[in-house]
């Protein structure tokens, strides 16, 4: 049953990934991308990482897709049709490279013998079962699966505290820098009293003149 479900999800995921890459309409591509992110979240649930799935939906579907939509709206006609991506000369080599990469990765996955004999990627059909929802402490992996939010918090505040703090710095830098980069020079001269930069006034010519 789980296998069938996996195949369905993977099929939807691959289809939406492909349509993201191939669709000429950028908004459609972004919608497919959101669908792809959603299927990845579903795969995380199949892997018993609901916490990560929720994060994935929250950040990717809720924020990244929206950001991409805004980017498309700001750089393109409203209908989002990508006029430049006609049949490009790089299409055939691109697809060939993609297929080669997939072949190499597939070969690598099935040729992997494992550092220890009992752990080989190609032959690992079962994961160790973990009882869900029980309150008594078990192995670290079990407590991680059952209460991932807590374990993630502990890890981020102990072992990975530097990575965590650095991620905060990274987000700050991205925020500051993206604002600095995308912000318009014209506003420099204009007063900036209000938080929302005033929209550029439309040329008055095509306004109905009362």
């Amino acid at each position: 049953m789980a296998r069938i479900l996996f195949l369905v999800i993977a099929g939807v995921g691959l289809t939406s990934a492909l349509s993201t890459v191939l669709s000429r309409n950028l908004v459609r591509a972004a919608v497919s991308l959101a669908g792809f992110f959603f299927t990845v979240a579903c795969l995380f649930i199949l892997l018993e990482a609901e916490f990560l799935a929720a994060l994935q939906v929250l950040i990717y579907v809720g924020a990244v897709s929206i950001l991409l939509m805004f980017g498309i709206m700001l750089t393109r006609g409203v209908q989002g049709t990508d006029l430049v991506s006609g049949p490009s000369a790089a299409r055939l080599p691109g697809i060939v490279v993609g297929l080669v990469v997939f072949a190499v990765l597939g070969y690598a996955i099935f040729e992997e013998k494992g550092l220890r004999t009992q752990y080989s990627w190609g032959a690992l059909d079962e994961r160790t079962a973990i009882a869900r929802g029980s309150k008594e402490p078990g192995s670290p992996l079990r407590s991680a699966v059952n209460n991932m939010g807590k374990v993630v918090g502990v890890e981020l505040m102990t072992r990975y505290v530097i990575a965590f703090e650095l991620a905060g710095l990274l987000l700050t830098a991205a925020l500051v820098g993206a604002v600095a980069v995308a912000h318009r020079e014209e506003d420099e001269t204009r007063s900036t009293g209000s938080g929302v930069p005033p929209e550029k006034p439309e040329p008055t010519a095509d306004k109905p003149n009362p």
């Binding site: 690598a108 990627w121 502990v154 530097i162 990274l170 830098a173 820098g177």
Partner: protein
Amino acid sequence: MPTVGPSTLDFRDFFFVAPEMLLAVWGLVVLLLDLWLARRLDPAARRLWVGRVALAGTGLAFAVALAVGLVPLMARAYPEDAGSWLSKSTLDYLFDTDPSLFSGTLAGDLQVGAFDLLYIVLLGLIVGLSRAWSFTEEWGEFLALLFWATVGMMLLSAAEELITLFVALETMTICLYLATALEKTRRRSAEAGLKYFIYGSVSSALFLFGLSYVYGLTGTTHLSAIRRLLVEAQQSGLTANAAGATAVLLILAGFGFKIAAVPFHQWAPDAYEGAPAPAAAWIATGSKIASLIAFMKVFANALEPWASPDSNVLRPGWIGIVAVVAAVTMTYGNLAALRQRNFKRMLAYSSIAHGGYLLVGVIAVGLAADVSRAAGAVLFYLVVYAFANLGAFAAAAWLARDKESDQIDDLNGLGRKQPLLAICITLLMLSLIGIPPLGGFFGKLYVFMEALDERTASRGSISLVWLVGLALLNSVVSAFYYVRVLRAMFLREPAGKPMAAADRLIALPILLSTAVVVGAGLTPDLLMGVMQAAAAPMLTTPIVVHKLTAPTPVGPPAPKKPTPAFQYSADQMKKMGQMATGGAGPPGGGGPAPKAKAGTKSATPKSKAQAPASKKAENRP
């Protein structure tokens, strides 16, 4: 390299990242002061004012980094005095020469301390350079991004664990993408930023996929644990290990982008040309140093067992791949540089070529018997290269300030107008070529000697002679384009608008770089001694299996590594102290400093001594 500990937080560890914390906070301070107080000033005054605040921050960071480096050294040098005002446990903590910070995710060894200082000095010079002329409106943002990129670099060269390493790498590069695009009056800056961004993000995606395979193969992300697992599994080379080979290729692609090795170099010329000179200088120096150190840690240390079976260059293993990449990189970089008329673009291709030489050094580290010496040679090369390039970019900034252009022809006649600085630039160019009495020569010499070392050669059935020969040939080729700069400065008549005299901000980086390059050329042993001492803890893995069976996500703080630090004699302590402070210790070539460390590769009984033996046994027919 430090050992892996359980997940606990020891607040004393923050002492070692004090410079990073200071820089991160100071970036915010600069940004806020720029937005609040400097808003009303006119652009030039604002630039100078904000720049002064930033310079004060680098000064402060330098002091803090010096203190962080010195306090443990002093405590080790004078344990009795330190014991009177420090508790026993603090003293023990400080006595660990290879401390395992944050459960082993960061190193706090001599290499980290020394390179922190180096980054801060370079950052100070670059901030000064940014003050020299007006190329952007967003001063606070630009300087803050430079500061945060520096934090990323410092943590990247300190990282001992792949997650921290990945985040540090991204912090560094994202700040640099943005700094590249901030010269908003020019189209090419935006273009450079976007190209750098796209290539960089693709490369980090490749890198990450490689990391995920490494994690899948070993189940851990700590470099020392990965190495231990590979050694235990008797992995030698990548024969019949397709997954490992894929991971190596992907990670190599990621690092290759960052250090602009050839199949992944396309962004570099555009980014260097389009970026404002200070940002380009920071990409060429800081980012390259940090990426190369991380590259060395990941490849020559964690993945060392995958280097190559029997140390044979052309057998499956990453050495063969890196050798080919190195050969192509230096050849292509030098040949392409010959065509360039733009000074910054020429520097970009020359920096690609230097990346190739450095990769030869990394191969030598992967093969060497005495790892600390080989790695010390690479670090030496990096330091000299960084200063020479910084001086060259200061000249580019000078051009950009006075001529708003960076063609080599714009330097025409500089030798008559500004003889002192022209001579300094000459020395820097000669050092980049590798002319004997200068630092660049010794950098190349050490690196190539390590590659040719007979012990290295005897371990492999095919030596690296061909690679070194190619590198020497390339050095000759490189002379042509560097000499073009000299010819412009001394043999051509000045044309067009003459360049105004360089002020302190431009002269200082050039003079200081020249001093370092010449100094490293006159007394190479001194710098080499420090670098070898720094390299010793960086690449040595004490393979002590840390028993972690109890499920203790939060437990009592684990006892530190049991290595008794007190067994060092006071004499050795003193030597180490002098070595790190750059004092007048008697280093002498190989120097006693590496030997003062109990855990060099050859000296650790469990690690390296065992690995070759098992390799030999495995490869016997």
